[in-house]
Amino acid sequence: MAALIDKLEHAPARLICGRHDNRPDVLLEILHEVQATEGWLSDDALHTIADALNISRAEIHGVVSFYNDYKREAPAKHCIKLCHAEACQAVGSGALAAHAKNKWNVSTGGKSADNKIELEAVYCLGNCALGPSAMIDGELIGRVTSERLDALIERCIEESECE
């Protein structure tokens, strides 16, 4: 946390806080918006939010570290979330995660060496009758097979090469 002391002003975060009248009760929404703009929550951004909302950096750290959605480091280019909850387990989500690890060398919770994809475990995407489910860069996909997953990951990798 030493890194949180003495940081620079983060203009986008300041702007987003202002749009919400610098209200501390809207903190989750502010964090979502900053993350949507920047991809993650930097020390500078958190410092600026703390200052704008007039709450302590410790409080912000408490909130950010509590919720799974908030990222404290820059993410890979593409995010693949695989549902690991019971309904998807019942139709083979475990085998799918194992396949991803073997074929693409990415473990759940990790990133690929080239930083093109990251694999996250989520617990329920609300698509429990059409599992196994995945969410790739915000797009919900049902009845995922290992072949389908491969095709989707290949698409992600190709896209990151075009960027």
């Binding site: 979502h32 309904a87 019942a90 139709v91 609300g126 698509n127 429990c128 009758a129 059409l130 919900l140």
Partner: protein, 514 residues
């Protein structure tokens, strides 16, 4: 095909339908119609809940709609060739949608409009019975509204099954100037998707229920706490709120009734525990989603210390029907103390997964076999988990259990939010028990020790049992730990995690080396 005639085609915008290609199918139908110079209107409705048929394309055909599904992109041209716009026969045709047995056998109350209307058309909503309940409520006194809801026997659909009318009465009796209506749309239970389907397919019904609740308890501000895993529902609900504000169904002096009420949408950030009401209220205040000690109950001291109604999406969305048709009409559905209907969600390894709204009293066997059609994989069923990740694993020999709050509790199970997840005979119940503890370890808010530490120790103990290390002794330790977690955890997270664990041990001892 008659020239100049316009056709109406329905392709769902529900997230589940989109997850298997509904958006592409809609685009392809549009292109194909353009190519064939056919004038057609595509309506993006909600889902009918027959999810194994998604994308389910419907065509307006005189007295009703004809169903075709599951439609893949590649089927579109052949559907046009078969003249599906006039109800032509095709291998994907299922006849009239509402005559499909799965649908015809249901009792749709809360989901009556879902999949039928254009979710964001206020005219469609009104044409199908929307706003009747609200207008009645606005003409009634708050206590009369509360009495109607109490008399209907409606209980909280989030899982706890607390009588809704009693909660509303408590909040009404508080004299504070500021009161809140908080809709819990943090539907985190695996195997459940009813809240999502309703918010995407009939969002106005939830808003109508919230305004009725506001009228009943004299609240002026409402929040919908919606999980971030539901981006489609978030988008739809935001649009719905804007439309209601424009129409003066939200805001100052709603429809000239003197009621002032506004609704704000707040998005969660990936924490299962925020489905617990006190954690959700903390989260709404911009804090860590930590559970609070009760009492005081939220109806007396909730959000910002003010009287607060916390109700699930389905509970609130059912209130309009009760107001419109009367408490007795609603109460006539169901058995015992479980009145009305429950939207059940069939999930996991099931042939016909989807949403089944039925009066309480339906058996698990009817749900899984008659509606669900057994497993999707074709393997025999070994167990179902009813009521989400904190619900019991039930063996097939107990499938005659009636779906009723009290009957399930007596059998060591629970209804929860109505999720039914089917597992085939390849499931290892010791692994499932271990996962229940692991899930609790991951999602515990950390406030109380039995949950925070118990989950970790529970997982470790099951690991020892799986490894064959002092099985008898470790099974005793596990049982003792489960009893402790049940008795002294602060909330249902730690308090109910033992339910899947102990039911797995009890019903499937062979998987624990017993």
């Amino acid at each position: 095909m008659m020239a100049g005639r316009s056709f109406k085609v329905y392709v769902p915008c529900d997230a589940a339908a989109i997850s298997v290609g509904a958006a592409d199918v809609a685009a392809t139908i549009r292109r194909e119609a353009y190519r064939r110079k056919i004038d057609l209107e595509i309506i993006r409705n909600g889902s009918r809940g027959m999810l194994w048929l998604e994308p389910l394309v419907e065509v307006e055909a005189g007295s009703g709609r004809m169903a075709y599904g599951p439609v893949a992109d590649g089927d579109v041209a052949s559907l046009f060739d078969a003249d599906f716009l006039s109800g032509g026969s095709h291998t994907l045709a299922h006849g009239m949608t509402e005559e499909i047995a799965y649908f015809a056998m249901q009792e749709r109350i809360t989901f009556a409009r879902c999949g039928v209307i254009d979710p964001l058309s206020l005219a469609d909503f009104e044409a199908h019975g929307g706003l009747v309940g609200l207008r009645k409520a606005l003409a009634m006194t708050p206590s009369a509204v509360v009495e109607t809801v109490t008399a209907s026997g409606l209980r909280g659909r989030g899982g706890a099954g607390f009588p809704t009318g009693i909660k509303w009465k408590t909040a009404l009796e508080q004299l504070d100037d500021e009161k809140y209506i908080c809709c819990n749309a943090d539907e985190g239970d695996s195997g459940t998707f009813a809240d999502r389907m309703l918010m995407e397919g009939d969002p106005f019904s939830l808003l109508e229920g919230m305004v009725i609740a506001a009228r009943a308890v004299c609240a002026s501000t409402g929040y919908i706490y919606l999980r971030s895993e539901y981006p489609h529902a978030i988008k739809t609900m935001r649009c719905a709120v804007d439309i209601w504000r424009e129409a003066n169904l939200l805001g100052e002096n709603i429809e000239g009734s003197g009621t002032n009420f506004n609704i704000h949408i707040r998005v969660g950030a990936g924490a299962y525990i925020c489905g617990e009401e006190s954690a959700m209220l903390e989260s709404l205040e911009g804090k860590r989603g930590e559970v609070k000690v009760k009492p005081p109950i939220p109806a007396i001291s909730g959000l910002y210390g003010k009287p607060t109604i916390v109700n699930n999406v389905l509970t609130l969305a059912t209130a309009p029907f009760i107001l419109a048709k009367g408490a007795v009409h609603y109460k006539n559905f169901g058995i015992g103390r479980s009145r009305g209907t429950q939207p059940f969600q069939l999930a996991g390894d099931i042939a016909r997964g989807g949403l089944v709204e039925k009066a309480f009293g339906v058996t698990l066997r009817e749900l899984v076999d008659d509606f669900g059609g057994g497993t999707r994989s074709g393997k025999p069923i070994r167990a179902v988990q009813a009521g989400g990740p904190l619900g019991a694993y039930i063996p097939t020999r107990d499938f005659d259990l009636e779906m009723d709050y009290e009957a399930l509790a007596k059998a060591g199970a629970m209804l929860g939010h109505g999720g039914v997840v089917v597992f085939n005979d390849t499931v290892n119940m010791a692994r499932q028990a271990r996962f229940a503890m692991e899930f609790c370890e991951i999602e515990s808010c950390g406030k109380c020790t039995p949950c925070r530490i118990g989950a970790v120790r529970g997982k470790e103990t099951i690991d020892k049992i799986i490894a064959g290390d002092n099985r008898t002794e470790n099974l005793e330790i596990l049982d003792d730990l489960c009893d402790l977690m049940t008795e002294v955890s602060l909330c249902a997270m730690g308090g109910l995690t033992p339910m899947p664990v102990q039911s797995a041990v009890r019903n499937f001892p062979e998987d624990f080396g017993g």
